[in-house]
Amino acid sequence: MSTTTEKVKATLGKRYAKEKRFRFYGLASIALSLLFLVILLTDIVGKGLPAFSSTYIKLDVQLDAPTLGVSTDATPEQLRMANYNTAVLNSLNTLLPGVTDRKEKKALKGLVSGDAQYELQRMVMDDPQLIGTTQSVWVLADDDIDVYYKGNIDRTLPEGDRRIKDFQLVWLDKLEAEGRIDSKFNTTFFTRGDSREPEEAGILSALVGSFYTLLVTLSLSFPIGVAAALYLEEFAPKNNFWVDLIEVNINNLAAVPSIVFGLLGLAVFIQLFGLPRSAPLIGGLVLTLMTLPTIIIASRAALRSVPPSIREGALGIGASKTQTVFQNVLPLAMPGILTGTIIGMAHALGETAPLLMIGMIAFIMDVPDSVTSPSTVLPVQIYLWADSPERAFTERTSAAIMVLLTFLVSMNLIAVILRKRFERRW
């Protein structure tokens, strides 16, 4: 046996031990990273799941004309201004009679959400014939009650430490015994805009706002991004000062903190051009500038992955540069470009900081109807709710996060599928 063999043999044990250790570090890193992910997701889901149901209380409301102050033939305007509040109060009083204490009275009214009277309003305006009848209506319970029923308020705590007092508990037990309390799927969350009252707060306006914002972003950044990438990758002269400058700029912009884009939007779009604040248009513009580099870089990578032999082949047959690029290179790069675009859109969808700068942080109840009307977006909504102290808002924040993540995951999934599907052609 040669000396080499002997020398090598002498070191082998140590080398294999090192190998094992190194391997373990790698595995541990992955495990740890994924553990974080699991903790994060379980935490959010655990917190957010309850928000998809809400507690309702059944009231028997007498819709008599005098109480409401209107008759069946009242104009819609009159119907709208009618006094539904009293009707709700009355029905509560009937359910739980004998409440006299001022504090308790206030608490009694607070059993149901402020939305109860609007629920009645909608019913009556839909069908004025209801006036004069007594209707059994499920109305939203107050957020504290909701939280209680989801088991997040501990009855065993001293009274002073909990938001629901003993007398309220008595009422609730009574109502529950009568079968007047039930938990239903929380449609409000998806059909309403923001609200100061957690039980009435929904994400619809934010969703629509996000949709408009993304629409603007996509319709600007995709064509511009692809055109820019095409130019830089296929047409631009090499070693040209301006082209290098553009390249450096794009690469740099991709890594500039998003908040700086917010500053740009604030200073240029709002102050200089005087465009309306809080509008999806501005949000979209800012996000366009922000996602453009991502799309350009992804598109360029996709273009670059198309082998040069394809270009040479087409040129060699007598296709012009432009024909080559548009007929041969671009279609091949499209899956990559689309993947990049979807990922860019996903980033844009999750982006918060620059939108704070341009005032999309406003409290918006109404669903925006155009790209210029004031609106907010989903992540900003999350940010706003996360700041609210109510326990019920925490729930809804998590729920909103779940909705947001669902969107993001599905977008990423589409991107992955797209990539998988078309990668095979190479």
Binding site: P237, N239, S309, G313, L315, G316, G318, S320, R425
Partner: protein, 293 residues
Amino acid sequence: MMEATLDMTTVAKVNTATSGGREEFSHTISGTIGKPYLDGKDAKFFCRDVNVFYSGDKQAIFDVNMDIGRNEVIAMIGPSGCGKSTFLRCMNRMNDTIEGCRVTGDIRLDGEDIHDKEQDPVLLRARVGMVFQKPNPFPKSIYDNVAYGPRLHGLAANRAELDDIVEQSLTKAGLFKEVKDRLQSPGTGLSGGQQQRLCIARTIAVSPEVILMDEPTSALDPIATATIEELIDELRASFTICIVTHSMQQAARISQRTAYFHMGYLVELNDTKTVFTNPQHQLTENYITGRFG
């Protein structure tokens, strides 16, 4: 015109690259030895004083003069970096696509100056097709690959005509039998040699007059190489073929004339038989016999 250029005396002191360093050689290149010129009638391409410069002052080709005959296979050989590929790419102006590449001199295809302002490089490339080192079928169906050129240049008035062109081109490229049942399957699914023949079919489809081939078999195994070589010989009947190859054996096998390039100079251009049995220039002899330094 022959007399005018024959007395050109570009005497250049040539450094032959050795694999290690550089060693000065005493051989000089003064004009081109052999038979670089043909009768005016026979010449398809006519190249005089072709010089190519890369970005800056780097000169890649020095005063190359040659005629390329109708229906001949002319092979260009020489060590790496000798400029054979660069020269080939002058002929359909593919060098235009390279940044900073400048070509001077007179190159005529059937008497027309290809560098003329009126001459559109795109049209030129339809007349002078090119086949590349790596088979590069487009990731489309076999049919669409071949139909690409005719569509591009509007050569077929209708579908039937296009079908006809595709079939003829594939047949000429010796591929029709093998693929006729799967014209709609992707061209990238073929084997390497078939892909290269597909690329040849694609080039033929626009009925070029000249086909340039840049090491068309260097990515293929010996079997596929043999098939392509055989095909080239058959194509000679209809096209003029210029082929760059790093395998001198290949040049020996398939060409009628062989051009030996050395450091940007065309050292010798002669009948292939002469080049391989009795080369006239010492540099050619050294290269052919494997005396590299």
